[in-house]
Structures are given as structure tokens and as C-alpha cells.
């Protein structure tokens, strides 16, 4: 049984906590968050040691195998570093850190500590993405020439269904590291690297500041891989009214024999899919089998799968599929994109 601590109980941390409860090989023994409300809310899931300061959790971590870190971007570096120095394996939300220097430092820490670190690149674990990758790797579309990867959503601006003010750190580049490009572009860049299996450089970058905020609300970046010159068009934005359960995210891979699109792999009718998956989980429940948490949403299940993969790596001494180096590479591309951007902030 793996003993786990959770640092940060915001939306993501709470979901990781709930997902852990569905894993037979994992026991959450401690949680930490400065918010009393968040700590109190977490107690509905079970009993564990509760800390307002994550450092106290780390000071008392002798019985822990790993920590899950879901804190604001600017705290990633410090919390990840101290967790590794405390001898813990780490699962951290993306980005690994907010700049290349911090990321390189973490890469070194992982190597020196001998511990495992995995970053929450959840989109790699979405069913449709896994199927597309398998199809691509079997050569179904010939050789990959270009990829279009896009996600346009509401960003940190809350959904009216659950109205809360935007957390200040999101719009402060010193704390977030950037806007839509850092937030969701990070994932799209990682997917491009995931599909191509190659490193990439930025050939074009244009950021949008129409929202007149200190961070960009949109970005278009064109990438090219170093070996095969595969081109990738990354299009991300925080400017669209998102309505759950719809999710404006798609990947199209163009090969010289055919193409693959997430549209083909996502459920045609998301409501029917939810009912079908819900019923399956109901049957699993009454027959005593394990659930597939969040499978009814068709993309949130990826959060469960990534965490399960991390714990599997710990149990079987495997290298996590998303390493600190993957986090570093994504941040390098983002930094390059910011430098190259020819956008001017509008008045």
C-alpha cells in the first residue's frame, strides 16, 4: 500500500484526492492547504493528518511514499524541490515550474535524489489521444507531416455554474509564468512532442493581448521538429465561453497517407456516452468490481489514469512516462515563443 500526501486542495488537488480513494493500492495519509475551508471540505473524503503549512507535512513525511502537488504555478519549484529533498516521490501538476532555470534545477534534483517525478500531462491519457498515438505508431496515416492542436476555453475565468472570482496569481505573470500559452499551450506543446517523439523549435509565435491583461489570452505558435521537420500549429485561448460538458479541444494529425482527428475518437453523443459509462460503473459497483472514475465525462478520466500510471511506476520501479525533462522541454518552447512573439499589447 502506497502512502500518499496531498499538497494543495484546490480544484485539482481535491479531484486527485477523490481519485486516490478509488485506488486499492493507495492510502492518503496527510493533506496540506492554507485554506481552512479546503481542509474542512477534504474531510468528507476520509481521515488523514491535516496541515495548514505543507512544510509541516514534509517534516512529518517519514511514513510517506509520495506527494501529489497541486499548488499555484509560482510555488511549484519550491514545493517540488523540498519534497524531493525530503526523500519523496513526486507527482506534480503542470507546469513543472515557471521558467527554464527552475526546471533545470528540478531535473538535477530528481537525478540527485534518485526519486521519481511525474508531471500531470493529463491530455496524454485521454482515450482519444492514446488511440490516435497507437494508430500513428502503427503507420496508419503514413508519415506524420503536420499537426494542428488547439484548445479554446474559459481559462481561469470561472464557469457561471460554479461562480468564483479568478485567483489573482493567474493574471500575474510573475506568479503564473504567463497566460493561455503557459496554461493550456503547455499541454498542446507537450502533445506535439508526444506525437512526434522529437524535440521541436519555434518558427512562429503570436500572442494576443486583446483582453488588456498582463498575460496573453490567446496564442498561436508554429513548431517544427528538429529531425523530421514535422510542423505543428498550436492554437490556444482563454476567450471562449465554455459550457460543461462540451470541451473545445482537438488534435488533427496529417500524414502523407491519411489523417487522424480527435473528433473521430471522441464520443459522438456525449450524453449517451455519459449514460452508457455511468451504467457500466453502476454494474461494476454492484458486482464488486473497481470503477472507472470519471469515465462518463470522456476526458476527465485522464486525471485518474495519469495518477494510476504514476503509482504503478512507483510499485514496479518503472520510469514515469512524463518526466521532469518533458516539463523542461515544454517550458523552453514557451519561453522561446514569448521571445519570438511579434504581438504588441493593445492599449
Amino acid at each position: 500500500m502506497l502512502k500518499v500526501g496531498i499538497i494543495g486542495l484546490g480544484q485539482m488537488g481535491s479531484m486527485h484526492l477523490a481519485n486516490c480513494l478509488h485506488m486499492n493500492n493507495v492510502k492518503v495519509v496527510a493533506v496540506a492547504d492554507p485554506s481552512e475551508r479546503a481542509l474542512k471540505r477534504s474531510t468528507v473524503f476520509g481521515r488523514y493528518k491535516i496541515y495548514a503549512d505543507y512544510k509541516q507535512l514534509l517534516d512529518n513525511s517519514h511514513d510517506l511514499d509520495a506527494v501529489i502537488i497541486s499548488v499555484p504555478n509560482h510555488l511549484h519549484f519550491e514545493v517540488v524541490k523540498l519534497s524531493l529533498e525530503s526523500g519523496l516521490n513526486v507527482f506534480t501538476e503542470k507546469p513543472l515550474a515557471i521558467n527554464t532555470q527552475q526546471c533545470e534545477n528540478i531535473v538535477k534534483s530528481v537525478r540527485d535524489s534518485g526519486r521519481k517525478l511525474m508531471i500531470g500531462h493529463n491530455l496524454r491519457f485521454v482515450d482519444a489521444i492514446e488511440k490516435m498515438k497507437a494508430s500513428l505508431d502503427r503507420g496508419h496515416i503514413g508519415s506524420l507531416e503536420t499537426a494542428t492542436i488547439e484548445e479554446i476555453v474559459n481559462g481561469p475565468f470561472s464557469h457561471p455554474v460554479n461562480p468564483v472570482p479568478v485567483a489573482e496569481w493567474w493574471l500575474d505573470p510573475q506568479k503564473s509564468g504567463g497566460g493561455a500559452l503557459m496554461d493550456i499551450g503547455y499541454h498542446m506543446i507537450d502533445l506535439f512532442r508526444f506525437f512526434t517523439g522529437e524535440d521541436a523549435k519555434v518558427v512562429f509565435s503570436n500572442l494576443s493581448y486583446k483582453y488588456n491583461l498582463p498575460v496573453e489570452e490567446g496564442a498561436i505558435v508554429v513548431l517544427s521538429t528538429s529531425k523530421s521537420s514535422i510542423k505543428g500549429i498550436i492554437n490556444v485561448g482563454w476567450y471562449q465561453r465554455s459550457v460543461f460538458p462540451r470541451y473545445n479541444f482537438r488534435v488533427i494529425l496529417h500524414g502523407n497517407y491519411g489523417y487522424l482527428s480527435t473528433e473521430k475518437f471522441f464520443p459522438r453523443n456525449i450524453y449517451l456516452h455519459a449514460v452508457k459509462e455511468g451504467l457500466k460503473n453502476f454494474l461494476r459497483r454492484i458486482s464488486g468490481k473497481k470503477l472507472r472514475p470519471l469515465s462518463y465525462t470522456y476526458y476527465y478520466e485522464a486525471y485518474y489514469k495519469e495518477l494510476k500510471t504514476f503509482f504503478n511506476c512507483l510499485e514496479n520501479d518503472l520510469e514515469p512516462p512524463v518526466s521532469a525533462v518533458d516539463g523542461l522541454k515544454a517550458i523552453q518552447i514557451i519561453e522561446e515563443s514569448y521571445k519570438l512573439s511579434n504581438a504588441k499589447k493593445s492599449d
Partner: protein
């Protein structure tokens, strides 16, 4: 502050404008001239309240287009002089902070261009008031600026809303409440809307219907003006395809003597000009659909023990 002249009839003007705000000044002037808007006394300070409920801009039909406010500013400058003190005001809401909404929605730029002030009503000097509506006493935190300005101009957006069917002039006044977490009023929203309108009475209401919101946004090209917010809402409800006498907060407003539908006179374009194009939403079906989704999700969570996505945790 100007005294409101009690009129025997409440004129509502309907003007067909370019949806993209071209020549907006002309349309705003025309809408105001039709109702014969002429404030009595001197005007030195003006508060203009657009609807900035979210960060989605006017093209989505959610928020007031700054170009409409710019037309009003032009009107004020031409009629009351260039030194009249104008403030564009909005209060923080549960999901919206004015410090972000003003720049995102183009109001910071407008304020700079037109040399007017922006004011977050949540940070204004507050007066605590209480009113009784339908036998319920409701406390409000009322921004002093709105009570003290010589002119209070309400500039709502015309749109549908699940909770109240429509949202226009009276609901935009509800948005003036200084308390950011206005969701606390939602269990008795109709009473709260009527209550705040008993305290805050705009001298003028000018509706941005350039892009309105029904089942989807529609480029309606409508500018509507009137001195009485109740009359505006009564007409707006009809344009949006609803029977206003069936809308709870309007029924309550009649009961509480906030307005009288019999006094309403429509001037300018025919109401049908706009109604025929408006994409009416069947609110009952929409509400049932939404509530069914959440009820099923909650029941599923309870029975199966599955995880709920973070965005829906507090839904």
C-alpha cells in the same frame, strides 16, 4: 440629485441601429429624442451603469457594448457641457471582478478616450438600506454614488436568463448592489430585484440590444430607451418572445406598485421588427434539462460513488 418627474405615460422608444455600433451616436440621440428625455435642473454628475456580468464581450450578448456607453457620453457632453463629471460604474459579482472586466471588455480604453472615470461600486461608500417586498425584509448595501449622482443612467443588455426568464433594466439595477456575492439573494431573487429597484431609480434606461442573447447571440441592432425600467422590461420581455405578465419579478413589480403596464407607450419601430428575429429560448425546457443533468449526476455520485469534476463541485 434630480427629482424624478412622475409621468402619466411611460414611453419606450425602439430604434433600429447598425448591430456593429456604426453611427451609434445618431441612434442613441434618436432613441432619447423619441422619449423626449429632458432632465429637470442642472446636471453635474452622472453615473452610467452598463451590464458587465462576466468577461465575455458584447458580441456574445452577455455584456453591454462600450460603444453604446460612448454614444451616451457624447449625448451628455453635448447636452450638459464638457465638464460634467461622468463615471462608468459596476459592482463586483460572484464570478466577475470589475478590475478585470473593465480592461477586458474595453471600458478602460473607453474611459481613457472619453476622459471619464471608472468606479468599482463594491469599493464605493456604502449605505445600508432595508426594504420590504412581498412581506420579506431585505437588506441591501447600496453604493452612495448612485444615490448622489444627478443622473443615474442604466445601460442593460437584453438577454434571457434561466433564473428570471429575462434580464434587462430591473435586473441590471440588481447588479448595482455593492455586495460581490449576490448569489445570496438567489433564493428570493424576484423579491431582491424588486427591492433594490425600490431604492435605486435610474433616471434613464438605454438598452443595448445591438447584439442580444436568446438561445444564441443575435445581431438585433436594437437601441431601446425609456425613463421607467419596469416599462423597458415589459417591452423587452415581449421582444424576447415572453408574456411579461407571466414573468415572476415583473408580476411582483406590478403588485408592489413599481410599475404599471397600462401606462406603457411604444414609440419608434414596431415591436414585431425585433421580435421576429429574436431566438426565443424555452426557459422551462432549458431549466428542466439543466436540473435533470445535475440531479442525475448527484444521484449517480451517491449511488455509484464516482468522482464529480471540479468545475461542478459547487453546482
Amino acid at each position: 440629485m434630480l427629482k424624478k418627474v412622475i409621468k402619466m405615460r411611460n414611453e419606450v422608444s425602439l430604434v433600429k441601429a447598425d448591430w456593429d455600433g456604426k453611427n451609434i451616436k445618431e441612434y442613441v440621440f434618436s432613441a432619447l429624442n423619441l422619449i423626449g428625455f429632458k432632465p429637470q435642473g442642472s446636471v453635474n454628475s452622472v453615473a452610467i451603469k452598463p451590464n458587465l456580468c462576466y468577461y465575455w464581450n458584447a458580441a456574445t450578448g452577455y455584456t453591454t457594448d462600450p460603444i453604446v456607453v460612448s454614444g451616451i457620453i457624447d449625448y451628455l457632453r453635448e447636452n450638459f457641457g464638457s465638464d460634467v463629471n461622468i463615471k462608468i460604474v459596476e459592482a463586483d459579482a460572484s464570478a466577475m471582478q470589475t478590475k478585470y472586466a473593465f480592461p477586458i471588455l474595453g471600458y478602460t480604453k473607453l474611459a481613457k478616450e472619453k476622459k471619464v472615470e471608472l468606479l468599482d461600486l463594491s469599493e464605493d461608500a456604502i449605505e445600508e438600506r432595508e426594504v420590504e417586498v412581498n412581506g420579506r425584509k431585505i437588506p441591501f448595501r447600496v453604493p452612495g454614488t448612485l444615490l448622489k449622482s444627478d443622473l443615474f443612467i442604466n445601460v442593460p443588455k437584453m438577454k434571457i436568463m434561466r433564473a428570471t426568464h429575462i434580464t434587462c433594466a430591473l435586473k441590471n439595477v440588481f447588479g448595482c448592489i455593492a455586495l460581490p456575492r449576490k448569489v445570496i439573494y438567489h433564493p428570493f431573487l424576484e423579491e431582491a430585484i424588486v427591492g433594490i429597484n425600490k431604492i435605486l431609480k435610474p433616471h434613464l434606461n438605454l438598452v443595448d440590444g445591438l447584439v442580444a442573447l436568446g438561445r444564441f447571440p443575435i445581431r438585433l441592432g436594437l437601441i431601446m430607451a425609456g425613463e421607467d425600467p419596469f416599462s423597458i422590461d415589459w417591452v423587452a420581455a415581449q421582444i424576447m418572445g415572453y408574456n411579461p405578465s407571466k414573468i415572476k419579478f415583473l408580476k411582483l413589480a406590478v403588485k408592489e406598485r413599481l410599475g404599471n403596464p397600462e401606462d406603457i407607450v411604444i414609440l419608434g419601430e414596431e415591436l414585431e421588427t425585433f421580435r421576429k428575429d429574436f431566438p426565443k429560448e424555452n426557459i422551462i425546457v432549458s431549466k428542466v434539462k439543466m436540473s435533470l443533468q445535475f440531479s442525475l449526476l448527484k444521484a449517480y455520485k451517491t449511488i455509484v460513488g464516482d468522482v464529480i469534476p471540479p468545475t461542478l463541485e459547487n453546482a
